[in-house]
């Protein structure tokens, strides 16, 4: 029993955090969002140079062969710095799915190598998401057809843009025709991989939401410590303190929920779905509260476009319902916990193997 991260994992996280702090400052993100594609190939290349795209790629394909547990730290950084969807969708969720494909899929090895080196952008159209993020500029999109997995090149899809309140989001309705040429897995192979991808997507979002929560808390603490009203920093008022203390509490207690879920997924636990859904709801609650109390503490400033808080709030409100909305995940938790013979109570914390 050791519920901690390795030194490697922690060191890597710190490096990524330092890197993003300078390379993905809010001003830079705002500029990127103003572009047509909403994405910066330059930033993405730099991130790939840091090795992040290779995180969970097997060593045999040039990767670092870490897993969901390491991603549970990295996704927090992606959230904290508001990194757009395509990165985690490619390097974490799609990479996980492709890695689990049978060797018989001829492109598998090549794709993994390209992901690791940062030259491939993949969108993923899981049925739980009504729209596909970043399909407009992905090299190909992984799409589902009755359980089958299709890898559909950009040229073979039509996209219809759906603007989101989160300016960093690029959501597409994808129109396409399934064919044997695009199919890379039949339904028997594909469905379990889609199920896994759902859990991985949910954890990706959970980690990002936790990072967003921390970012909004940090912004709010800074603001409350500086902003004065009635002759005092507003952060000295008990009401403000208690708002932010509650956010800190939610964040601290959501972390281990996320980490257990990542571990369960990485180790193929039978409870992975339950744990992932609980993580999605716990991190979502933390982020939702951080947004609410964040704007409250910021006062009217928090309601403006120019103060950075808005970027992270809006991303929170968008991601809360990504890879399964709250209703979806709460229902999965409810079904599992209330099922006959569910293993509950002391001693059952780490689930079935």
């Amino acid at each position: 029993m050791d519920f901690t991260f390795t030194d490697d994992e922690r060191t890597f996280r710190e490096a990524i955090s330092r890197f993003l702090m300078t390379e993905a400052a809010p001003e830079a993100l705002r500029e990127i969002w103003e572009t047509d594609s909403g994405r910066s190939p330059d930033l993405r290349n730099k991130i790939a140079e840091q090795g992040l795209m290779a995180l969970s790629i097997p060593e045999s394909a040039g990767g670092l062969e870490m897993g969901d547990v390491a991603w549970s730290l990295m996704t927090q950084e992606l959230g904290y710095y508001g990194i757009p969807d395509s990165l985690a969708d490619t390097a974490y969720v799609s990479a996980g799915l492709i890695n689990a494909l049978p060797d018989s899929v001829s492109d598998r090895q090549g794709w993994l190598e390209q992901i690791a080196e940062g030259s491939l952008r993949i969108a993923i159209g899981h049925p739980v998401n009504p729209l596909v993020a970043d399909a407009h500029l992905a090299d190909f999109t992984l799409l589902a057809h009755a359980g089958e997995i299709h890898a559909v090149p950009r040229a073979l899809i039509d996209v219809e843009h759906n603007p989101s309140i989160d300016s960093s989001r690029r959501l597409c309705r994808v129109m396409w025709e399934p064919s044997s040429a695009t199919r890379i897995a039949d339904a028997a192979t594909g469905q379990p991989l889609w199920d896994q991808a759902l859990n991985r997507g949910a954890l990706s979002v959970a980690g990002q939401l936790l990072g967003l929560a921390q970012r909004m808390l940090d912004l709010s603490v800074d603001y409350a410590a500086q902003r004065k009203q009635f002759g005092k920093p507003i952060g000295s008022f008990q009401a403000v303190k208690h708002h932010l203390a509650d956010v800190a509490g939610k964040i601290e207690f959501a972390k281990p929920v996320l980490y257990r879920a990542a571990y369960s997924l990485q180790h193929g636990s039978a409870d992975a779905a339950l744990h992932a859904s609980l993580a999605h709801t716990a991190c979502g609650e933390a982020a939702h509260l951080a947004a609410r109390h964040g704007i409250q503490v910021h006062g009217a400033m928090g309601y403006t476009w120019e103060v950075d808080l808005q970027m992270f709030m809006k991303r929170t409100w968008a991601l809360e319902s990504a890879w399964g909305d709250r209703t979806f995940h709460k229902a999965r938790v409810s079904d599992a916990v209330l099922s006959d013979g569910a293993a509950l109570g002391p001693g059952h914390l780490f689930g079935r193997s």
Partner: protein, 388 residues
Amino acid sequence: MDLTYTPRQQAFRAEVRAWLVENVPVEKLASYDTREGFEQHREWERKLFDARLSMVMWPQELGGRGCDLTEWLIFEEEYYGADAPMRVNQNGQLLLGPTLMEFGTQAQKERFLPRMAASDDMWAQGWSEPSAGSDMAAVSSKAIRDGDHYVINGQKTWSTRASFADWVFGLFRSDPESSRHHGLSYLLVPLDAKGVTIRPIKALNGKDAFAEIFFDDVRVPVENRIGDEGQGWKVAMATAGFERGLLLRSPARFQQPVRKLIELYKAHQTEADRDPSIRDAVLEAWAGAEAYALSAYHTVGRIARGDKIGAESSINKIVWSELDLKIHETAMRILGARGELLAGAPQGGDVDGWLEGFLFAQAGPIYAGANEIQRNIIAERMLGLPKA
């Protein structure tokens, strides 16, 4: 206690309803936080005024109908029930209007009120200053007397839709030696005056919902002052009472979205019921809107009987702002993944105005005195707890 409407009240309701059926635009107006939408709303207000439905509680001679508060509640029920456009000139009509009626000279009333009711003049408020926030007395903008003029220098902020408005009203420090609540004067300033600069502030939704107003040697004649020189605080506070708080957010404004929330819930019930907290939240929202409306009728009755309404207005502010959040949070939960889509997104479906409403609801607990301040007021003025 008699909770039935008189024949006169019923007739008024019928008249308002009939007029609205006939006149409410079929197509939704553009957002009034855009120039285009602002002017569309001005036109609508003009139409309301022509039917003497703009300010129903104002006296006949100012273009109203001399309605009492109960009739006003009825008007609001019909107005929101008909999904009529949002009111664009409320800062003038609800904040400045009653102030003028109480403290304005006859000349001022005649000059400003009918044009305000008709929205020929659109008003922005100039309460906040950059370092003030919820501390309304932190005024540093100066208005120095120079003969029969004041010369204004300073800055106001968070002035709703000032980018499009015609006039601003607010407190200015006419005694430069004074501090806090003292030495302030209540002035009306045309926004096209020389020396006025307006810088829009983009809101969360990217629209120019607010503005900063800079005053650089702006000259306004003394007849633009309401009340006595140096008495601005008293003037501003005198009409900040309960009644005005109620006018700002009539119950119908929440009853109507709750009705729609219930429809939204029913349309998505099978999915929504997988999270039992949604049905509960829908019913809580309904119960909240009921309680808010009942409280309004109860208060109107008490006012009619001559009761003084005090810190209850702070409770009101907290209740409606939290109710509005609850309504929109719940709608967003029901909409799930589509909730983030902007109006006009092809896959938006019945996302409708819920997202905009959700964003706007975030401001509720902040503006018009942050809810933390309201809770202090309740504790200190209503319960008598000691100041910190």
